[in-house]
Amino acid sequence: MWRSRIPFLLSLSLVWAAAEMGAADPAGLSPRIANYTIEVKLDPVKKMLEGRSVLSWRNDTRKPAPELWFHLYWNAWKNNKSTWMREDNYRRRRSLRKIRPEDWSYLQVKSAKVLKAGPFAEADLTGALRYAAPDDGNADDQTVLVVPLARAVGPGETIQLEMIWTAKIPRTFARTGFRGNFFFFAHWFPKVGVFQADGTWNCHQFHAATEFFSDYGVYDVQMTVPVGWKLGATGREIEVKTNPDGTATHRYQQADVHEFAWTTSPDYREARRRFERPGLHPVEMRLLYQPEHEGQVERHFRAAQAALYYYGTWYGEYPYDQVTFIDPAYGAGVGGMEYPTLFTCGTRLFNPFGGGSPEGVTVHEAGHQFWYAIVGNNEFESAWIDEGLNTFSTARTMDTEYGPSSYVRRFFKGFFPVEVRAIKRQRLAGGGSLDDYRESARSDVQATPTYHYFPATASDITYDKTALWLLTIERTYGWETLQKILSTFFQRWKFRHPTPEDFIAVANEVTGGQLTPFFDQVFWKAAVFDYAVDSAVSQEVKAEGLADKEGQVVYEKGKSAEPKLYETRVVVRRLQDGVLPVEVLLKFENGEEVREVWDGQELWKLYRAVKPSKLAYAAVDPERKLLLDINYTNNSQRLKSRARLPALKWASKWMIWLQDWLNTLAFFF
């Protein structure tokens, strides 16, 4: 069908273009291994995509590739038997009763053909296609497609594979789909996996708690949608053609990316700004937003610019010429997600400035241009590299640009927010990552491949634990050291696929190996940290017993020293299995301090001091450097509690809530 539509010369030119893209380009930013030329047509009524892609794939290893493995992500939502749907049950995020027949999706390859190019003869491989389930053996899962080749792709060789496919668009299960006439497409075409140096394919099934992994390349994509619909996509639009059937074809190109996402809707409005800062690459910024969020346009731009500026300054500049960000339609379920040169934000009709939304999600997803798009870690196996580094970076950017965000409570089905400016969140610690991490601290060892994490708690380890130990490094070694770690890692691994060992190696390189014990605790184990002051007493030193005085032995009882002295005894404890050195502080009423570093190895340690002043308080980790300590309240102790006033204050406020509730009941009865 496609052959009859596309003239022979155009086919040749597409193949030629694909071949050209596949050649290693010394001027390119990335290795350009997986290059796509795609034509796709959207049927917004039937919710279907019809596509044709030509993959130009280069074997960048020293091993032959007798097969090509592809992700068919949308088959994850074909039925409830897929691996993704089974795992999603653990997260209990949706009820199957709410899913209608028209909500499910699929991605079906109708034809797979090797095109004649270089050493490869034309070959129809459609009959040889098969599904694989390399992770869990689930025969019902169709998210990995294997294409056996008539001739293996040798080291350094490039193959052109044409695929013709149809896809049923899902009502969003995760990240991609439709709502009304709003469409967002991610991972929407057959996507080749990553061929590894050992001659095996890294092509995981689609899991509920993981994201994606693919090689860099060049994309040339033509998308046909109803005329008049606004369209946004990875890269830059180079032409738009109106077709006689009431559609328009938009052509976008982008080099050196590992994914291509796009979106279309007749309801989008558009705004553009230019990001320009001394020393950083200028970027054209394009925002597609919902009409009802007109008043939040500048907030989106400010947040995106903050990310480009701070990440660019701290780690390395954003190298692409443009970035598109999307304010998705209400309820579309595609917000808060990243794709190269395109990301989705997400806001509400009513969103007070100061509450951290939509600024937080905009900074975060813009930040993923650095951690994910440019540094291309394997999100199936080590999602923490992009999510954790980005969560940390987002929090730092938000604090730097906006200061701490306020507590916001939403009412009446979440539509109406009330901001309490007097209650502030602390970076990652208060009302943020630590609360999520605390509940899941033992659920997985971080070194476990992400797709083996327990689905319900995976994000707590991936996002929150990583961000917390990064903040711990910052507070322990200083921001300069951590910045050097992160910028070295960014510069060394941009447009490449780093592993956890690569990050740890860089961290140790910068710190001279000091972080090995740290990573032993936080990464290679599921150690939990909880240091506490167990007891603190200060007693006046008084002599009791027999003493020599002027040649005689006399009995003394309760005789104070001159001047008075106090013996202070403080016991600190390690309550969990996590061991890291911590500082112990004894602060006295006269301002004196005793500070020591405790290696934290033993379960408890006694500190004793005799001073002319009583103890004011004792504290373990007084500067709160160890952000993974799950209970910070027990880290300090005064001689005498001062909790009575705050306890009564907050209980009295609670009492007013209770009285209001009682009177609301009584009002209606």
């Binding site: 009304g180 709003f182 309801d267 919902q290 009802e292 339609a329 209400y330 309820g331 509400r348 507590y407 409570r409 009412f411 009446f412 089905k413 539509f415 309490v420 007097a422 209650i423 969140r425 602390q426 208060g430 009302g431 609360d435 308080y617 504290a619 209970n631 910070y632 309240t633 027990n634 880290n635 102790q637 005064r638 001689l639 509690s641 001062r642 909790a643 006033l645 705050p646 306890a647 009564l648 204050k649 907050w650 209980a651 009295s652 406020k653 609670w654 009492m655 007013i656 809530w657 209770l658 009285q659 209001d660 509730w661 009682l662 009177n663 609301t664 009584a666 009002f667 209606f668 009865f669």
Partner: protein, 306 residues
Amino acid sequence: MLEARRLAGWLYLASLVASLPLTLALAMILRRSLGASLVADNLREGFDLGWYGEFAFKETGLGDSFGPWVTGILPVLENLEGLLGGEPPTGDWTLLLAGMVFLLVWAFFGGGIVDRYASPEEAHLRGRLFAKSGEYFFRFVRLLVISALFYAAVFRWVSQPLHRRVEDWTRDVTSEQTVVLLTLVVYLVVGVLLVLVSMAADYGKIALVVEQRRSALLAFLRGLRFVFSRPGKTFGLYALLLAVGLVLVALYAVVAPGPGQRVWWSVLLAFLVGQVYVVARIGLKLWFLSSQTVLFQSVEAPPAAN
């Protein structure tokens, strides 16, 4: 209404009795959580979300009902949301027990209160209030149960299906504005039904006293008939007093203390501001009852007792 001062006093005392023991229990829980930690200073200066995360992780029962939303106007909004959603507060069974006890107290005093408004010419001795309260107590309890069943029906057969229907209708709606408007319409419908049941219960109470009825169910139905036979007057009165209530809430939203009290006297002052609001709410309910009693008596001739 001036007569209501003593009535309000009794009802306020009841709210104190119902809430103080739990408040003191919560204070002990908070104090135990803070111990001698320096974090207590943060709670004195304001609020500490970091401490709260630890607290919420460990505490169950009564502690579950505590959070940063107890400050300012948030508790009122929290309760209003719960009311419109038919949801009890999260937390201990003791909260529900306190609620039931408070309702029983209102049921006890209800008869005496309505009697006072219905018979202003009688001598208002404390003895009469308690005597009449006791006389009508069990009828008012039965009326309370009947009202509860009607409220449950509103939530079960109107509120929940309507909210689900809105979800279905808006499946392909891409504008939050549209969904907000539809949701507000549902809240309005539910609100009107709740008001209807509330008025039926109020006029039912009045009918129990004024018409010396024995059947709580028939009194409730009497109240419902009264509302439907004079919708303009009954809804109009309710709307007027509800508007006063909204002004009260708006005023409280302006003056409601936030988290920043640091010394004993400011904590006490904040508490007293809250108590003034509570007393005002009680006064508003009494105003409702007195106005409704006057309306009922002004348009109805007393029928024979059943």
